[in-house]
Amino acid sequence: MNIAVVTFPGSNCDDDTVRALHALGASVIRLWYRDRDLGGIDGVILPGGFSYGDYLRGGALAAQAPVMEPLRHAVRERALPVLGICNGFQILTEAKLLPGALRPNRQGTFLSTWQHLRVTRASSLFWGLREGEYLRLPIAHGEGAYYLPPGQLASLFDRGQAWLQYVSFDGQLTAAANPNGSVANLAGVIAGSVAALMPHPERAMDAALGSADGVRLLTAWLEGIRRRSRDASS
């Protein structure tokens, strides 16, 4: 099973992401944003960072990158699992592979802090990550306020696409727990085989660094892929 990590010019969490995947025993293929051939891969991560310096809008310039074409194709044709983290989330919304948009944080400044999250909806993409589970992960972003045009929120929940929400340290879904002004405290969404979140699971791989909850999230994603390819081949 091969997992690709795509580096766009300006990506800066790609190395951390590769290190996290290696720690979980995954075999990693690194892709450069100009690659037009994905190769034999079973899943893709678009890592965090400042692709193209976040100029214009976070993720907008990277969404036009050559690698996005085969990626889009693979999502459409064979439901390739894609995971966007932070800037990767922005790229996926700009590329219209996920609904909505990421707007500058409500407070107008970059925000780096630890956040508690709740799994709002279990998904087969994350095998074993159950509804109602809590995670503690760091966030670090300037444009992380998830936005949906009026009227689209209810259907996002109805379709089971509302995946992760920011909650308070004791698990409450409160306005105060919302770090950036995201609609409905949304921190992560899923559409088909594409999932994305603003927090950084790859930075939470070791309790000594504050949390090992990233291990749970990434393991669940890898396990989802493993089961999927097993089912496909059986």
Partner: protein, 723 residues
Amino acid sequence: MQARDVGLTQTEYAAICRLMGREPNELELGLFGALWSEHCSYKNSRALLKRLPHEGPYVVAGPGGNAGVVRVSDDWEVAFKIESHNHPSYVEPVQGAATGVGGILRDIIAMGAQPIAVADLLRFGTDSQSVRLRQGVVKGIGQYGNAIGIPTVTGDVAYSETYAQNPLVNVLAVGLRRPEHAMTANTARPGHLLVLVGQRTGRDGIHGASLLASQDFQGSEHDTLRPTVQVGDPFLGKLLMDMTLTAVERGWVAALQDLGAAGLTSAVAELCDSSGVGANLWLDRVPLRQRQLSSYDIMLSETQERMLMAVEPERWPDVRALADHYEILATVIGEVTEGEMIQIWWDSTVQGTVSAHWLVRGCPRRDVSEEWWRALRHRPTEAPPVITTIPSLRALVLDVLAHPDVRDRSFIYQQYDSTIQTRTVWGPDHDVAVLRLHDTRVGLVLSVFGTGQWASLDPYAGAAAAVVLAASRLAALGAEPLGLTDGINAGNPDKEESFRQMASAVAGVQDAAEALRIPVTGGNVSLHNETDGQPIWPTVMIGALGRLDDATKPVPDCVGAQGHTLYLVNPGPLHWGGSVAERVVEGASPYPLGDLGHHQRALEAMTQFVRRGLAQAVRAIGRGGLATALARMLLGAPPSLGMAILLSESTESEKLLRLFNEGPAQWVVAVAPEVVDDAVGYWQAVGIELRYLGEVTQSGRLEVDERVHWTRAELLTAWRQPG
């Protein structure tokens, strides 16, 4: 164009003519103007800096290169250095601070090291204009560091009217390298190609070194300084960093130098001078952003995001292909030659010829006599000020916690990515940063601290105390000190008083570093911090780097369990000179430095105490004194815990002085009941005073002398003042 147009005096001009045996042409004069500026030549500070101790068991490279380097393990070396960007940040806060970060990162990269951390040391005024300056500076630091992907893990900020027209923006960077990837500028050899990599050269920051960084500000001069604004591009900076470090790793770079102050001129001159070679420069080949740049502009432009490499001709195709991969420009702009002369060409005509040696070393430098240097140690007396009206203890604790120099800084550091690169064990919510190296338990401790009030009346004592404080925070973790970097910020050195203040500060760093046996491996000097004739307080920023054998479990800096006993180690003098409390009650008296030899023994003893595992929690006492240290140890603890403190002082004013003095090398330690005897015995044996303070309780509040108390909420509200 005349000497003074490029910031040179008549005497300096005469020296140039003597060296050259002729008058320089305009281009040559411009090169001298830049490299003989205060910022590049250290003409007023070199003689002082050379007195700092540079030798130590871990030192790989001391001052002289782009950054100091120390050894952490057999596998890893660490480059680190501090840099200032004060004037640019006043002119354009966001870009000034951003390019400050970019600049120090390229210094680290020039040593062949991958940057892993940034720290920011800031000083601002107290008016509303200063608030906007601070917001811009913080935004700029975040903008660059966050985007290029280097965590900002610690910092220091303080305020005083003295910085209103002259904020200080010092940035420190730390990088890691394998010993086999060590790079320097002094390994260029005749026949190497000179390759300029990165941004196209534009009209940015011409005269940045000679005018912006090396002269005082007159309020109205802003206009004439217009062309000096540089814009940072962290996006390109990231590509340049990755490309450069990859080329270094593959062994394709023979010598490396960043382009900082005085741009190409400084880079080429430093590279040639340190390597003992000359160069031909072909300016017509330099990629430009604008048409119509003159040779002069190209040589002096401070366009950011550029590096200069010396490359063997056979390696050039590889380097070019790598640059193509990263989509950045790499251009051969010259060649290394025998001798020491730099010849500047445009097509086939020579525009100027100067010796690298004259540019880098020829500047007449100020020297001082031994006697004058020694006399800097005669200082104001340390007689304690008399407290005439005794303030309320209850109110004073809260006022000190709420003071801008003490209060919670999360409104600043939450704008910085502090967790990227996955090494951050302790980030900016602690007094020091702890970074664990990948795939090992070994880690680094970065402790930064700068003077403000401490050095206002006595720069010597303040500077020395800053070194002691930075080191006492390493000791609190039992870390092994590896080295120091120092940033000296002071006024116009042509004024005798400012010069003496700067020299006193350097003397303070020297004496403390020697006493503590920690080498200074590099630093920065920023002079001319004056606006309209008003100098800042001489301000010394210190960065101390230490090693931890196990960085995964640092000794906590907050109390952890009921029943632990609290002690004060090495109680300071009953003297609150330079303290925040003194400022709150509007006093000003010199800082009580005490004996550096004694502090060294206390530091050594604390380091061993922690390593023996005798402490359940430790916090070094700094700004805000003992009271603040206690409050912070409680605020980070489980909410049910409290503290009951019993002071042994008898009078009210002595109690205040005990709680608020900021004397150096003091710690609060929490000791578990089962090791109390061992702990007490240990301190008795080493001959450092251990004074009983009280107990950790379950009261959820801080109590002093069973008389005054503060709830946790009260302390938190005071400490968490907004911006």
